[in-house]
């Protein structure tokens, strides 16, 4: 018994293959989803991967949010479908109002690619149960528009409700408010973050760490035990 986890390919998606590989390495079955297709092929969860969907023209994630596949994802996420947005996926989730806040250009105005230290702040979401709260992990980060912003009221609410899922440690790579690297919705089924857990799943590749694998094992356990 395993779970089917969909990965959406938008025009300009870059990490779709990588995300499918991470899902496979965790033991789940990856399913390719297409942006023009409203059908989610009965997947149990969805990953919106990194990249530059629709060239990131207009505003990052702004066009992807209106694609046919997102209509279905938005409806089902509201009904509890687990969704993980990584980087561009996180940007799309904020554009779709599944998560609050928005992403601006990095404060230093450069693309940045680095091995980033994070603290897991919430280990109770659908995607983080294989971590422990307070655990420090290293996950590759690579983006141009990664500065998380929201109004103070929203930020206070996120903090109060434990919805800041990940925070940057030692170094804030993009000027994100309150060092926020990732957040979750109230129900804990929708999680978005800027760093790329799918790039940290094999000991030889990338930074050589596997700190990202628990994202995918967490969701698998949740789905299989459900």
């Amino acid at each position: 018994m395993t779970a089917r986890i969909g990965v959406v390919t938008f025009p300009g998606s870059l990490d779709d293959r990588d995300s499918r590989r991470a899902i496979r390495l965790a033991g789940a079955e990856p399913v390719a989803l297409w942006h023009k297709d409203k059908d989610l092929k009965q997947v149990d969860a969805v990953v919106l991967c990194g990249g530059f969907s629709y060239g990131d023209y207009l505003r990052v994630g702004a066009i992807a949010r209106f694609s046919p596949v997102m209509d279905t994802i938005i409806d089902q996420a509201k009904a509890g479908l687990p969704v993980l947005g990584i980087c561009n996926g996180f940007q799309i989730l904020t554009e779709a109002h599944l998560l609050p806040g928005a992403m601006l250009g990095n404060d230093h105005l450069h693309f940045i690619c680095r091995d980033q230290k994070l603290r897991v702040e919430n280990a109770d979401t659908a995607w983080t149960t294989d971590y422990t709260a307070g655990q420090e992990i290293h996950i590759p980060l690579k983006n141009m528009d990664g500065r998380y912003v929201a109004d103070d009221y929203t930020l206070d609410e996120l903090e109060a409700e434990g919805r800041v899922a990940f925070r940057y440690v030692d170094f804030n790579p993009n000027g994100s408010l309150r060092d926020i690297a990732g957040i979750t919705n109230e129900a804990g089924n929708v999680v978005g973050l800027m760093p790329h857990p799918e790039h940290a799943v094999e000991p030889l590749i990338g930074t050589g760490r596997t700190d990202g694998l628990p994202f995918f094992t967490s969701i698998l356990k949740k789905l299989v035990n459900a």
Partner: protein, 752 residues
């Protein structure tokens, strides 16, 4: 080029006396006369446009061809070579049914005029060359050279180039895994922006640029054709910059990486369904190049209706459409019954695709506009039978004087404190300093197969998840060495790239090159070029690594001042299992540091002579290719059999540079002892070739030294990985903190 009346073939034949602006289009008088002779009449405006771009230096290699032949004539026997020079890129067999294609190209002049777009479209162009071979691009590398690090214009050019490479490559989803960044005042008005790409395919998927089969359709797909880059190939690449001329900005193309990403996916899907007979990307010389090369490499005949080309600007003339270098376009030849499916795939990816012509059973390339014939040529005369020049060349008079100005006689540090100061000065100098500020703007991780990336000696990509098969690539060049002796300098570039591939544990297989020189009309420059090509061809023959393709960039000079002759060499290697790769970083305390190879007093062209004395003179280090081969074999065996835990090539900056890098990357110090027969200064700063340092676990020491002894490679134990300082016993000690600050703060201070 008058548009009223339309300059048709018929009109041209009837009006032999019409003067055409051949000189403005970059043709010489005798070249124009040759065109008239070939056609038996004056060319039409459209024909002239085609000949002028295709016969430009950039497209025709007219000055370099006679020398480049040596790469073929001296090519070593190599079973791995599947496709050699002449196609969009060479293809090498790497085993397990995989083939790898790779190539390095220049985009120098456009990057000076418009750094961001120049560099971005350089990446775009080389990536399309790789797709056109049938391969999925898997990584890019960028060897870059700029003017003095503290020159104000460098602050304009470098950040733009880096942002352009990042902006384009990152958006395509290609990891950037290697390259170089070099500063030297000689590149002030002529930065060198070279871009390399590697692609992977199965043997059976190799595609070639040829149009055969009468009735097959010619499909143009990708971006619409606009007015950007018109004449870019002939004007930008073939003339020297001259302050008196008007701005050339409009001639630089503008890139759209999103469109290119769609082009990659849609092309690969069409390949997968075996829909493509022949394919060519549209780069320099745009449609002129693609149609004439496809036709010329096939049976020869093609008919094209130019009205069907989708335009971004409806006012473009047919000549401009033929010359436009609008980016992100490709041309495919498809059998009629597969056209619908091909167009469907393009539609799936929202890529515009249009049938613009068909292959004919004749041998003429005919192009129509508003129903009238405006081009009627033998495509071979456009694509392959351009002029060839035997440019005069002569060893410059100043060469002897330069070589006599011996760097070995420069004052050396007299005390341990001076030695220590010079070490700090060296590792903090712009050329030797950490380039992290630059490389962190490139995505290294995308595609999830990056095993090694800069600042490792070579970039390494896994190509098979099951078996661990991987490829490595390193690019190197040293213009200072080549200036002192172009023959040896070119060989040193090859030797270094070859060594860099081997230090990571991969076996060097094949070579691509990007030859950056000044004006071929200067006999001294032509001599440098001839010597460099001869040196590289000889060395490739001896090392058994064939040149599979590459690029020549001439006219890199401002006024009379040419750049240093700068042959940049890329070596591709293969590794059976990437788990066996060897990184640069020291990994475990207590491991023994061995110096492999011989260290001589060789300071000509060295980083030390530049940093401490601002000096360039004498002779570059000697080259011993048999030693390079032996060193590589030892490094590969030691990696495979787990005898070494880290390895680093010694090149510019010498041993101390390598030790500091290994120490800083691993966060572990080193204690070194100067071996008998050497002084500390020579040990630290000499740039003798054919050397590497390795860290050997104590348990492997005997096995490792036995192997070196049996094979006759000098291996000298010079120290141990230890502590948090780099210490030269009896001389000085520097903390890793101090070294890190020196090494890592230079570039951000200059550019951030």
């Amino acid at each position: 080029m008058s548009r009223t009346p339309l300059d048709t073939v018929e009109h041209a034949a009837a009006t032999p006396d019409v003067e055409l602006p051949w000189a403005e289009l970059g043709l010489k008088k005798d070249e124009y006369e040759r065109v008239v002779e070939i056609l038996g009449r004056r060319p039409t405006g459209a024909e002239l446009a085609m000949y002028s771009v295709m016969w430009s230096e950039h497209c025709s290699y007219k000055s370099s061809k006679v020398h480049l032949r040596q790469f073929g004539e001296k090519a070593p026997e190599n079973d791995a070579l599947l496709v050699g020079i002449g196609e969009n890129a060479g293809v090498v067999d790497v085993g397990q049914g995989y083939a790898v294609t790779f190539k390095v190209e220049s985009h120098n002049h456009p990057s000076y005029v418009e750094p961001y777009q120049g560099a971005a479209t350089g990446v775009g162009g080389i990536v399309r060359d790789i797709i056109a071979m049938g391969a999925r691009p898997v990584a890019v590398v960028d060897p870059l050279r700029f003017g003095a690090a503290d020159h104000p214009d460098t602050k304009r050019v470098l950040p733009g180039v880096v942002a352009g490479i990042g902006g384009y490559g990152n958006c395509l989803g290609l990891p950037n895994i290697g390259g170089e960044v070099v500063f030297d005042a000689v590149y002030q008005g002529n930065p060198l922006v070279n871009a390399g790409c590697i692609g992977v395919m199965r043997h059976e998927d190799i595609h070639l640029a040829k149009a055969s089969g009468a009735g097959n359709k010619v499909i143009l797909y990708g971006a619409r054709t606009g007015g950007d880059g018109i004449g870019g190939a002939s004007i930008l690449a073939s003339e020297t910059f001259d302050d008196a001329k008007p701005s050339k900005r409009p001639a630089v193309q503008v890139g759209d990486p999103f469109q290119e990403k769609l082009l990659i996916e849609c092309t690969l899907e069409a390949f997968q369904e075996k829909l493509v007979v022949g394919i060519q990307d549209l780069g320099a010389a745009g449609l002129s190049c693609a149609t004439s090369e496809l036709a010329s490499n096939g049976s020869g005949g093609m008919r094209v209706t130019l009205d069907d080309v989708p335009l971004r600007d409806s006012t473009l003339s047919p000549e401009e459409i033929l010359m436009s270098e609008s980016q992100e376009r490709m041309c495919a030849v498809v059998e009629p019954e597969k056209v619908d499916r091909f167009l469907e795939i393009c539609e799936k990816w929202d890529v515009i695709a249009t049938v613009i012509g068909e292959v004919t059973d004749g041998d003429r390339l005919e192009i129509f506009w508003h129903g009238e014939k405006i081009v009627d040529v033998d495509p071979r005369t456009v694509a392959h039978e351009g002029p060839t020049y035997e440019r005069p060349y002569a060893r410059p008079a100043w060469q002897d004087e330069l070589q006599a100005d011996d760097a070995n006689k420069l004052p050396r540090p007299r005390t341990a404190d001076e030695l220590k100061d010079q070490v700090l000065q060296l590792v903090a100098s712009p050329n030797q300093a950490s380039k992290k500020w630059i490389t962190s703007q490139y995505d290294h991780f995308v595609q999830g197969n990056t095993v090694l990336a800069q600042p490792e000696d070579s970039g390494m990509i896994r190509i098979d998840e099951e078996t661990g098969l991987g490829v490595a690539i390193a690019t190197d060049g040293n213009g200072r060495y080549a200036k002192l002796d172009p023959y040896t300098g070119a060989q040193l570039a090859l030797a270094e790239a070859y060594r860099n591939v081997a230090t990571t544990g991969a076996k060097p297989l094949a070579v691509s090159d990007c030859l950056n020189f000044g004006s071929p009309e200067d006999p001294a420059v032509m001599w440098q070029f001839a010597e460099a090509v001869r040196g590289l061809a000889d060395a490739c023959q001896q090392l058994g690594t064939p040149v599979t393709g590459g690029n020549v960039s001439l006219y890199n000079q401002t006024g009379e001042a040419a750049i240093h002759p700068t042959p940049v060499v890329a070596v591709l290697g293969v590794i059976d299992d990437v788990a066996r790769r060897t990184p640069v970083a020291f990994r475990e305390e207590g491991q023994l540091i061995y110096l492999l190879g011989d260290t001589r007093e060789e300071f000509g062209g060295s980083a030390w002579s530049q940093v401490v004395h601002d000096h360039l003179g004498g002779l570059p280090p000697q080259v011993d290719l048999e030693r390079e081969r032996l060193l590589a074999e030892i490094l590969i065996s030691a990696s495979r059999d787990g005898m070494i835990d880290s390895a680093h090539d010694l090149s510019d900056g010498g041993l101390i540079q390598a030790v500091v890098e290994s120490a800083l990357l691993g966060g572990k110090g080193a204690r070194l002892v100067v071996p008998d027969g050497l002084d500390a200064f020579t040990l630290l700063f000499s740039e003798s070739a054919g050397r590497a340092i390795v860290a050997v676990p104590r348990s492997e020491e005997l096995r490792f030294t036995d192997m070196c002894g049996a094979r006759g490679l000098p291996a000298t134990r010079i120290g141990v990985v230890d502590g948090d300082t780099v210490e030269i016993q009896g001389e000085f000690s520097l903390s890793l903190e101090e070294l890190r600050t020196a090494h890592e703060s230079t570039i951000p201070a200059l550019l951030a």
